[in-house]
């Protein structure tokens, strides 16, 4: 759906953006347009959130659609729901844009079946880093309320939030927009035919003009694009060369938390945890004697570079890997930066729902000049086969 075709509806005024979302969901369930919803809810101890699949409308009172932090990447929740198929019930999931982008990547990988899901996003100001949230839930809630007001991340937010360009409507079915609008105003915008159908059936007053909201988003986006450029430059300099790579990952304890928290790394058994990745003792002793010595375990840099090669084409820059790292390595900074380059190589943007298959699931006969020598020979060869 292009910008000019966008259609939206106005939601009745509510105290907070989250309340307006809840009202919308209550209406959808009452009108039997959705069977259930997936939303974050505070865990009983009160110091974190969990995803709850709920169909009891009274539970909505305790849900927090726009939560301050993101403990489990939402795409993982959607995968656990639809891994075996779409199911028969319609479920609306309200998640951050990076969570929905990850779910879209997972659907291309056959891990999420979105047919009966309605994926909804909202203008995301950023998310508080998990560790910071757990250390001080009350203070973090306060800071998040301010972020929500301004539409901007503060320094308790994940570093990737500061450089996120796709914090608003991207490719979801529905989007809740409030940034740039006067206080208490909230729009719901259709991002797909599925979303539009739902809006029409709900019979909400349609929004005449989306331009105020769009302008507000564009302004905030400009800041983030600038921040992204300069952050990437910094990361590039830090990672530069083999020594740079070693120094960025110097403190890595090899726990692989970054991989288990990543929504894209869905492999039941990661290659780097498998038997195949184990080393032969004699080979290691030879390697050590050639160098004088060798650090153990040996697969640290291989794990990170291998993961970049395996999954960076689908990395949605959500920052879960950094949040999960016990030794504060800027994993997400490195992965976002590398992903930006690998995705550029194939003119691919992770999280798009435009029918474009994953780059590794397709090829063109004549492409990627410069990756192999004698391009001309190869091209001549190709045309003779076409």
């Amino acid at each position: 759906m292009t910008d000019s075709e966008r259609k939206g509806a106005v939601l009745p005024a509510a105290k907070e953006p989250g309340d307006a979302v809840l009202d919308f969901l209550r209406l959808a369930i009452t009108k039997k347009l959705a069977d259930a919803v997936i939303l974050p809810m505070k865990v009983p101890s009160g110091d974190s959130y969990a995803w709850i699949l709920m169909n009891d409308i009274s539970l909505l009172d305790d849900a927090v659609p726009i939560a301050a932090t993101m403990p489990v990447q939402g795409a993982k929740a959607l995968r656990s729901l639809t891994r075996k198929g779409p199911g028969n019930l319609t479920v609306i999931a309200v998640m951050r844009p990076c969570e929905i982008r990850a779910a879209i990547e997972l659907s291309k990988l056959g891990q999420v079946h979105p047919d009966n899901l309605i994926l909804a996003t909202y203008d995301c100001p950023g998310a508080v880093q998990l560790q910071k949230y757990v250390d001080d839930p009350a203070g973090s809630e306060k800071r998040f309320a301010e972020m929500l007001q301004k539409g901007k991340p503060d320094n308790s937010a994940k570093p990737v939030c500061h450089i996120c360009e796709d914090f608003s409507l991207f490719d979801s079915d529905l989007h809740f927009g409030y940034l740039g609008l006067p206080d208490k105003e909230m729009l719901v915008i259709a991002g797909s035919d599925k979303g539009l159908e739902l809006l029409e059936e709900l019979g909400l007053a349609s929004a005449e003009d989306l331009s105020v909201w769009e302008k507000g988003i564009d302004q905030l986006k400009a800041d983030r694009i600038k921040a992204r450029k300069s952050a990437f430059k910094e990361t590039e300099a830090q990672l530069r060369g083999f020594d740079g790579l070693l120094s960025v990952f110097a403190n890595c304890i090899g726990c692989h938390n970054c991989q288990s928290a990543c929504p894209i790394c869905y492999c039941r058994l990661c290659y780097f945890d498998s038997e195949t990745a184990e080393q032969n003792p004699d080979a290691l002793i030879t390697a050590a004697s050639k160098r004088g010595g060798i650090s153990l375990p040996v697969d640290r840099i291989m794990f990170h570079t291998g993961r970049m090669v395996h999954m960076s084409l689908s990395c949605v820059s959500c920052g879960q890997c950094s949040d999960a790292c016990p030794v504060s390595i800027p994993v997400a900074g490195a992965f976002s930066y590398v992903a930006d380059q690998t995705q550029r190589t194939f003119e691919y943007t992770a999280g798009r729902n435009d029918g474009d298959p994953l780059p590794l699931r397709q090829f063109r006969k004549s492409e990627l000049p410069g990756v192999h020598e004698l391009v001309k020979d190869a091209d001549a060869e190709v045309s003779s086969h076409e």
């Binding site: 590039e236 060369g241 790579l245 010595g293 291989m302």
Partner: protein, 141 residues
Amino acid sequence: MKKEFTPRITSFLCKWCSYTGADLAGTARLQYPTSIIPIQVMCSSRVDPVFLIKAFLNGSDGVLIGGCHPGDCHYETGNYHARRRFAIVRSVFESLGLESERLKLSWISASEGPKFARVANEYTEEIMKLGENPTRKSIFL
């Protein structure tokens, strides 16, 4: 010191084309350097990108993938897929500022013994210019 440097180039060669090409170079007694360490794979698409990384981190000064010419892959499209995978590794190397020249993809058919010898010679020269892979001496990996 420089003179003693003999590069090691781990070479993944597909059974149907490049490996046979290498064989032909051998039986035709064409000269090519001992730096090439051939590993036979069933198809260039058998080379998981992680193989390239593993070879690089283990200290190979160069890593070569040899496959059939486009259109000639024994499994029809394996080499097109191999090219995409290779491009990702190249792109990761470039973004990390690692020397992507240490990775090479080449199409060599079963009858191209002379081409194999030429690629082996030229690539070895290129690698000699680049010098030793820094991972060769690194204690930390």
